[in-house]
């Protein structure tokens, strides 16, 4: 909630002029989404908190450049994604994972599933199990899965942000979903038993 029921657009304008209370109100409104994004992309609470802090500091420094061409939440979200990707690039994780996908002998590819005919998803997935499974994905898979399937970015946007090809983004996403299925599945017999 903005101060005294103030519209978000006014709070943004005031924050541009250095109004700390309005900036705090913007933080309060958007902190969950930014923190959740950071946590899902990194899988690490301490890193996610540092990156959330960095994203809002950058927001404060750059808010004067916000012209309202897109929704403020979209603009802030993109800023936060870039903060996380910059951090991960410094750690070297995405590059390694992207390179791995180019290797033909990768064991997480779709062909692995030909023989696993007795494995299916464990009925409905609860949120906690899905979050845990996402957290355990290799970083390259996790980032693209989070950006595409959770945050709703298109492959061309991800390719631009990640500095990879659209095909690579699609390939990573597919492998991420396959890996998640591996992590969440049980045998057909177990699922049948759980339905009885």
């Amino acid at each position: 909630m903005m101060p005294s029921g103030m519209p978000e657009s006014e709070a943004i304008e005031r924050a541009k002029s250095g109004d700390g209370q309005c900036f705090e109100a913007l933080y309060t409104m958007h902190k969950r989404r930014v923190y959740s994004l950071c946590l899902r992309m990194t899988g690490n609470t301490a890193e996610a908190e540092d990156l959330t802090q960095e994203a809002f500091l950058q927001l404060y420094r750059k808010i004067a450049t916000f012209r309202g061409e897109s929704a403020f939440s979209t603009w802030l979200h993109r800023l936060a994604v870039n903060v996380v990707l910059m951090h991960l690039r410094k750690k070297g994780l995405p590059e390694v994972s992207l390179q791995e996908t180019l290797e033909p002998a990768e064991e997480d590819g779709p062909k692995k599933d030909f023989g696993s005919q007795d494995q299916v998803l464990a009925g409905s997935i609860d949120r906690v199990n899905l979050e845990r499974a996402i957290e355990s994905l290799p970083p390259g898979y996790r980032i693209i899965f989070v950006l595409h399937d959770i945050e709703g970015y298109e492959h061309n946007e991800i390719a631009e942000m990640m500095g990879c090809s659209i095909g690579n983004s699609k390939s990573q996403l597919h492998k991420a979903r396959m890996k998640l299925r591996d992590l969440l599945k049980i045998t057909r017999a177990e699922r049948a038993a759980s339905k009885r």
Partner: protein, 109 residues
Amino acid sequence: MKTGHELIVENGQESIAAAAHNAGRHIQMNCAEFQRDLPLIIDTGGTEHQEAHLRTCAVCRDLVSDLRYIAEQAKLLIPMLEPSPKVWEGIEEKLKSEGLVKPVRARNT
């Protein structure tokens, strides 16, 4: 008169679907062929030929269903996670130290 298969070889085409069409009969796609196009099938739906494979193959049917379900469930993961109060405290401290903002009362605890 040339058969469908001969025409395909003559034209250098290797498509199984085209071969089936030209020969006037239906050749069942196998799992390897189906799963080769899986990412496209998941996101945009399959061709008639791929749909025919799905109707007869429980393994691929479960696979497609599971992968679509995972994608659907991911979209429902709303941002419920709350950062600790120290995140805002850190932001406020940094902004104050840089002289960028007047002190504000910490309400995000």
